[in-house]
């Protein structure tokens, strides 16, 4: 059959999620690939049928949650002539309770990539760590840093088996790499499978308010200070109006070197 057997789905060769017996890969000279990744409740290895059937999960059906998940946050990122700005509030809310007023929603992954997270806090923490590990492994194996687009695609592929489950992760990768030329690179990756590259993104319950401020003031030619104050203003206005965003504003500016503001 000239084309790929349809039973073999999008199976990224190196990442078997610990489900199949294959432990090493020839390409990596026997480096063990069997590592821990959370197994999805109704995923099965792509190449055999399980002996008992999990209840069919349909993406379009709503999963009944044991409690309501609230995703209160405001994060944003945008590209301008001086690099990339990433900003976020610092409130972690659990329903009506401010669970923590000083959470870091922006995490540096490596020297030229930060990730802003929104959605479920636990899921974001886990997937950021998994992403950081995979990027580091790639760098060690291939002796060059993975591009931001590559990292976004990798993350999207890793999240794909969990689509339809309760995993709720909406990350914005903000970074700078040679592939993007002299500008930064901003990619939004969501656990429902969305992967969008763009110039400005805002995510979270406060994002409509942040967009309102950003869409008015954002220009390519902003100076560094103008861009920083625009980002801070946008998050501040969002925290003012959105009950689930608040407390402080974290801000990162990514250029050839990352430094925190």
């Amino acid at each position: 059959m000239p084309l790929e057997d349809t039973a073999s789905t999008i199976n990224v060769i190196d990442y078997n999620f610990g489900l199949s017996r294959q432990k090493t890969s020839n390409r990596n000279s026997g480096v063990p690939l069997h590592f821990f990744l959370p197994t999805s409740p109704d995923s099965a290895p792509f190449h055999y049928r399980p002996s008992f059937h999990f209840p069919a999960s349909n993406h379009s059906l709503n999963v009944i949650r044991p409690f309501t998940l609230a995703h209160g946050t405001t994060t944003l990122g945008f590209i301008f002539q001086g690099g990339v700005i990433a900003a976020a509030d610092t409130r972690a809310s659990a329903g009506g309770l401010v669970a923590c007023p000083a959470v870091h929603k922006i995490t540096p992954i490596h020297s030229h990539l930060v990730v802003t997270s929104s959605g479920s806090g636990a899921d974001c923490m886990l997937w950021e760590r998994i992403l950081a590990r995979e990027i580091r492994l790639y760098q060690l194996r291939h002796r060059q840093r993975l591009s931001i687009r590559g990292a976004a695609k990798l993350l999207s592929f890793m999240l794909h088996p969990f689509k339809g489950t309760d995993v709720c992760v909406a990350l914005t990768l903000c970074g700078w790499d040679k592939e993007a030329g002299n500008t930064g690179c901003l990619i939004y990756v969501c656990s429902d499978g969305t992967r969008l590259q763009g110039d400005v993104f805002s995510v979270g319950s406060g994002s409509p308010y942040a967009y309102g401020v950003l869409d008015r003031g954002l220009r390519w030619s902003l100076s560094r200070d103008e861009a920083i104050s625009l980002a801070r203003e946008a998050v501040f206005r969002a925290t003012h109006r959105d009950a689930y965003s608040g407390n402080n504003v974290d801000l990162f500016h990514i250029t050839a070197q990352v430094h925190q503001v």
Binding site: L3, E4, S57, H160, K163, Y188, G193, P208
Partner: protein, 182 residues
């Protein structure tokens, strides 16, 4: 809410797709391209559920390219459409069906232009007719009229459309069509 349209002429196919990438009620991108180039003369337009569209379309795209690498010649539009439909059908009754709706437009050197419609229940329909004596300019005018009507009656705002034309020379990018309302 997304929009795809294809118009088949005597020796060309004109396709257009809107440019909005939305997340619930927020437009996250205004310049998103929903067309995937399968080969020199085949385009796949894909809309539907967020992650499924890109995953499925890229899977089809890479497989069509693989076919060319293995066999030295490209799949015809009809073969590509049937391959796509088969994949949709195989996944339909699995635990992870792809919720995507597709238009596949292509030009076959022997059969001429072809326009295929596929939906998430893996039905495949080839437009059995083409507008006679439709010039390329007429087709673009027709497209503009469709977009005008859309912006008049459709509840959602679709400000701009990517337009491409496929004929025996290959795929041509035409001017983006934008709606004038500001």
């Amino acid at each position: 809410m997304e929009y795809l349209i294809g118009i088949q002429g005597p020796d060309f196919v004109l396709v257009a797709a809107d440019n909005v990438a939305a997340s619930s009620i927020i437009q996250m991108k205004h310049d998103y391209d929903k067309m995937f180039k399968l080969s020199e003369k085949i385009l796949l337009l894909c809309v539907g559920e967020a992650g499924d569209t890109v995953q499925f379309a890229e899977y089809i795209q890479k497989n069509v390219q693989l076919y060319k690498m293995r066999n030295g010649y490209e799949l015809s539009p009809s073969a590509a459409a049937n391959f796509t439909r088969k994949n949709l059908a195989d996944y339909l009754r699995s635990r992870t069906p792809y919720h995507v709706n597709l238009l596949l437009a292509g030009y076959d050197d022997t059969d001429g232009p072809g326009l295929f419609y596929m939906d998430h229940l893996s039905s495949l329909a080839k437009a059995p007719f083409a507008a006679h004596d439709l010039t390329r300019d007429d087709a673009v005018d027709l497209l503009k009229k469709c977009i005008e009507e859309l912006n008049k009656r459709f509840i959602l705002n679709l400000p701009s459309f990517t337009v491409r034309l496929i004929d025996k020379e290959g795929i041509h990018d035409l001017e983006k069509l934008a709606h004038g309302a500001k």
